[in-house]
Amino acid sequence: MKETNLHELMGKLMGTEIKAELVRLFHMNPGILDTVEGIARRVGRMPKEVETEISTLVELGVLRRERFGNLDVVSLNTSKDREIQSRIATLIEGSGKR
C-alpha cells in the first residue's frame, strides 16, 4: 500500500460498510482464526456478502488466508496491522501539520 493521503488509505480499508465491519471485527478481536462462514456469522451477515470483501482485505495484506485440507482459514496479519496503524498515525500527524 503506497497511499499518499489518509483518505485514500481509509478508502481502501473501509470503502464499504462490510469491509469496515470486518476491519473493526479483526481489530477488536485479533485472535479470530476462522472460516469465511464463521466470520460471516460473527458480523451477522451471509458468507456470500463477506467473501469478496475478505478477498480484498487479503490482497491488501490486512488479512491472511491459509488452506487446511478443504477449509480456508482467515486470520489477521498482525505485523501488517501494526504497519497500517503506524501509517495512519503518520498520515494523521502529517495532515495536522498542513
Binding site: M28, N29, P30, G31, I32, L33, D34, T35, E37, G38, R42, E66, F68, G69, L71, V73
Partner: protein, 258 residues
C-alpha cells in the same frame, strides 16, 4: 508431574493440581463459573508457573474475554503482548481439521510454546459435527493435545441446573477425559449457592467432598465442604442425621435450662 491450577483449595482437592498432559473436563450449567475457572487456570499458569497458555473460544469474542478478565484484575491483552497467553476465536470445524497430523492451531501452540490449553466449550462441537463422528473426532483431538504435551481443560455445558440427574455428554466424553470437575448450583435454606466437586482423576486419589465456592473479584474461591448436608447434588439437600440430632439435643438442652 502436576500442573497446579493456582487455585490453592482446588489444587489441594486434586492432590497437587491436574496431572501433566491430562485432559480435564469442567462440567456445569450456565453461570456456574466454568469460564472463570478455566481462564484462571491459564492466567495462573502464565503468571505464577511460567507455563504459557492458549484459550480457544467458539462463541465468546476475544474482546468480551478481555473485558470479563479485566473485572478480575487479569490483563489478558498484556499477557498476549508478552507472548504468554493467546485467545483464539474459531469454529469447531477448524479445531478438528487435521491435514497430515497438522492442525490450524498448531502454529500458535508452537509460537508461544504453550503448555496449557482451554477449549471453551466443547459442547459447541456437538452442533457442527455429526453425532456418529463426534466421539472419534474428540478422541483424535484429545490425543493430538496429549502428543503436544499440553495439559488441557475442556468446559462442557450441563443442561441440568438442579436435580439428581447428571449427563456429561451423550458421546461418552467422560470416558475419554482423565479428570472431571463438576460445578453445580444448589439450594440451601432458600439460598442459591455454588458447589464444586472432583468426580474423577485417572491414576490418582483426590478429595471427594462437595465444597462451596464463590466467584470473588479475584476469581474462584473455594470454601468449606457442605458437611452439614446430605443430598446436595440432588437439588433437594437435607441436614445430615448427625447434624439434625446434634441440633435437636442443643435445642432440648436450651429449653431445659430455660
Amino acid at each position: 508431574m502436576r500442573a497446579p491450577t493456582g487455585i490453592s483449595e482446588l489444587d489441594a482437592m486434586l492432590h497437587g493440581g491436574l496431572m501433566r498432559g491430562d485432559v480435564a473436563l469442567v462440567v456445569g450449567s450456565a453461570g456456574t463459573g466454568k469460564t472463570t475457572l478455566a481462564l484462571q487456570y491459564l492466567i495462573n499458569g502464565a503468571t505464577k508457573f511460567n507455563e504459557n497458555g492458549l484459550y480457544i473460544t467458539f462463541e465468546e469474542m476475544p474482546a468480551q474475554i478481555y473485558r470479563d478478565a479485566a473485572s478480575f484484575g487479569w490483563d489478558v491483552r498484556k499477557l498476549e503482548a508478552e507472548g504468554k497467553l493467546r485467545v483464539v476465536c474459531t469454529s469447531p470445524p477448524v479445531l478438528v481439521q487435521f491435514v497430515e497430523q497438522r492442525n490450524p492451531i498448531d502454529a500458535i501452540i508452537a509460537e508461544i510454546n504453550a503448555k496449557r490449553i482451554v477449549i471453551d466449550s466443547i459442547s459447541h462441537l456437538e452442533s457442527f459435527i455429526p453425532a456418529s463422528e463426534l466421539r472419534g473426532e474428540l478422541y483424535r483431538l484429545i490425543n493430538h493435545l496429549k502428543m503436544k504435551e499440553l495439559t488441557s481443560i475442556f468446559t462442557v455445558e450441563s443442561h441440568e441446573v438442579f436435580g439428581n440427574q447428571l449427563v456429561v455428554t451423550g458421546v461418552g466424553l467422560s470416558f475419554l477425559v482423565d479428570c472431571i470437575i463438576l460445578l453445580r448450583i444448589v439450594e440451601i435454606q432458600s439460598t442459591l449457592k455454588k458447589a464444586l466437586t472432583v468426580l474423577k482423576i485417572r491414576g490418582s486419589d483426590h478429595d471427594k467432598q462437595l465444597r462451596e465456592f464463590e466467584i470473588t473479584p479475584q476469581g474462584i474461591k473455594i470454601a468449606a465442604p457442605f458437611a452439614q448436608y446430605e443430598g446436595v447434588l440432588t437439588g433437594a439437600p437435607r441436614m445430615s442425621l448427625t447434624e439434625e440430632a446434634g441440633r435437636a439435643w442443643a435445642e432440648a438442652f436450651a429449653r431445659k435450662r430455660r
